[in-house]
Subunit: 465 residues, 2 copies
Amino acid sequence: MSKSGSPLRIVVIGGVAAGMSAASKARRLRPDIEIFVFERSGHVSYSSCGIPYFVSDIVKSPENLVAYDAKFFKEKRNINVFLYHEVISLHPEKQSILVRDLKTGLENEYRYDKLVIATGARANIPQIKGIELKGIFTIRILQDGIKTKDFIRENSPGRALIVGAGYIGMEMAETLVKLGLDVTMAARGPDILGTMEKEIDEIVEDELGRNGITLLKFTQVREFTGENGYVRKAIFNNGRSVDIDMVIVATGVRPNSGIAKEAGIEIGYKDAIRVNQRMETSIPGIYSAGDCAETYHQILERSVYLPLGTTANKQGRVAGENMAGGHALFRGVVGTSTFKVFDLEVARTGLSSREAKIEGFDYISNVIEQYSRANYYPGGSKIRVKLIAEKNTGRVLGAEMAGRDGVPKRIDVIATAITAKMTAKDIGDLDLTYSPPFAPVWDPVLTAANDLKKRITIKEEHPNL
Amino acid sequence: MSKSGSPLRIVVIGGVAAGMSAASKARRLRPDIEIFVFERSGHVSYSSCGIPYFVSDIVKSPENLVAYDAKFFKEKRNINVFLYHEVISLHPEKQSILVRDLKTGLENEYRYDKLVIATGARANIPQIKGIELKGIFTIRILQDGIKTKDFIRENSPGRALIVGAGYIGMEMAETLVKLGLDVTMAARGPDILGTMEKEIDEIVEDELGRNGITLLKFTQVREFTGENGYVRKAIFNNGRSVDIDMVIVATGVRPNSGIAKEAGIEIGYKDAIRVNQRMETSIPGIYSAGDCAETYHQILERSVYLPLGTTANKQGRVAGENMAGGHALFRGVVGTSTFKVFDLEVARTGLSSREAKIEGFDYISNVIEQYSRANYYPGGSKIRVKLIAEKNTGRVLGAEMAGRDGVPKRIDVIATAITAKMTAKDIGDLDLTYSPPFAPVWDPVLTAANDLKKRITIKEEHPNL
């Protein structure tokens, strides 16, 4: 029971990955408490990462992306979900929040005993003249996907511009090409994919080119112009332009930390809500999890901002467990992520060489290519691996891979090894699966590690030679 | 230089995986020494594991299974390969071996400074009446594959019996069904796949049934009978029989350790040559590697007999490095292996529950099923995972998986975690790749570990509840 005599009440702000994970975990541990979830949109517990596949029509209905709906949460888990309810302010001194019902406009105050802020992130929308024209979309919440798909269905656009060359940009490029559009992609600088390695970037660039996508580098949009309110042209900073019928703006996200900040909660790295590994904010009893919050990074041993769906789920569970009286710790990420673009699988874990340099590591790296299967077994293809290790210890700091067969789960092996602070030699000695349909006798992971190992320890290992 | 004044000479007995790995590694480290390889058959450096795929004609020619031929080794690596040369005795007191040229019958003595025995293993052939009939094959060396394929081509057999239900039996079952044969498989006991888990066995049994294979359990062959010297019938211990045109005997292997034993070299577990982690036998200067030798097991912290191609390659490199004056250690296996049967991928690592019990571990286990991809993304299917952990510490001891998408590389994640002595909780917290085409937000590995974790630590973690 809470101080007020009524049952302990947990309030969750935001009903997507982190929020519903927190609510569900708290419920499993405490059947007796009240749990309220306030969600601004009309959907809870959906897969944001599935939105490109909904737009491409691989996923037919938005409901297919919803793991469980509000009714399920009420009936099966006794969790009260308030859809179209926006939390407009927090009042830690009163342990209450002010909530607006977006359908009626009415505002109501709700008390809480424990609160978790899981407001997610919003698309970063650049200040560009004409950005308000019709046909310009971001891909962030489910409603964005629905609007984009409806627009394509109703307007049959022929040409699209994707602003940004990150993961969402790549997935949407594939989606739009498969829907028959002519796609141009504009990257701000010399690189695509943020801090990823150039040896991996170039494979992705080839794949874009092979699929008919025009990639423009050093290119920012100066202005969008339109006809009848619909976007028709993007004019770039270099004076060139491209005729278009629609635009996807995929230039990253920023945390929805505004209400937390206004309530005096400490804000951390890149405007994300500062949290410890218990997912507690600076105010006792208030937690935060998911894309609005910081993430602990195991290699850097400090918090960073790395919003990803799987992290949101893990953090949500930790917050839920702690709100329910438990003692869970979020162990942190090592920087693992992956995406698919056409037939190419790309994945990374740990630090890129650029990040290792920025963080002051003395590192070495290598690049190898090795088949995904025995070279005589059909269906295999070469995987390129870049591996990065600390020079003086051999500890592996990061890896990136690109290929057409079995890439992400191989990155998972290295992510596991990085978590265990393994060296290149440790990885080269791993007892991994071998069978002709699945791997060559020296898996790409082993080959990369053994090659890198030679550059680190050859002198040490052969004192007699 | 050796004691005799001539260059240091390394002699390798057996030119397949371990032997050629040893020779190549020694050469990379020591350009100055002599390296002689004696191989009884006509092929070196081929993939034994590829033989079923050569019989099935996925691989057209035996040459496709050969990584490098004798000519390559001579010309590119200055390694002298003697084909059709059988080593018939070792003379450690003289540092020499006696070798018979199988083409001429002539015998010759060769001195060595360092010797590695990489004689491999031979198929275990049960003492069955009629076993010498034509149409009965083992699948071990490349010549076995060639004979089997030739027989099928020349005789168009309609019905086959596979004796044994292990990995090779499974791969050959798929091969023969794909070649149009009617296949019966006879397993000696109640289980297939040796010590694997019954929850995995049953999925494999379903797959065999779905592909028209008749699986007979508790079935041993008492006698083969024939016509004109060709096998025509197998009569079982229970009195039943089956009409057949060919037989694959796949009842395991035993180490070729005879010449080592005769030379006074210590023999270890299951008749394998006893070696330490430097791959040294009991006689100084004599090494052994591959399927004839013991294997160090990291969980059991002792040697076992677990002949596998990837281990043979690793052990060979270690032996080669040490013969060349280096100080390499074979780190050992954790019990990882995998096979494909039809569309099913099966893999394991660590100890099975039966092995854990035999070894005296107090363990718990669980079985979960989880999709290989986001459930809304096409091409995924359920993976069954059985996970085994030490009860009082949570340390993961083993895992087995079966499914149709992404199994072996997921076992590799657990193999890596076992090597690092991770607990179920450690694995559940891993930062693994997530993207709808590759994994659900909670990968089967994470789901299995988190489920098992609950059974271990729930009381400890919630002292307040």
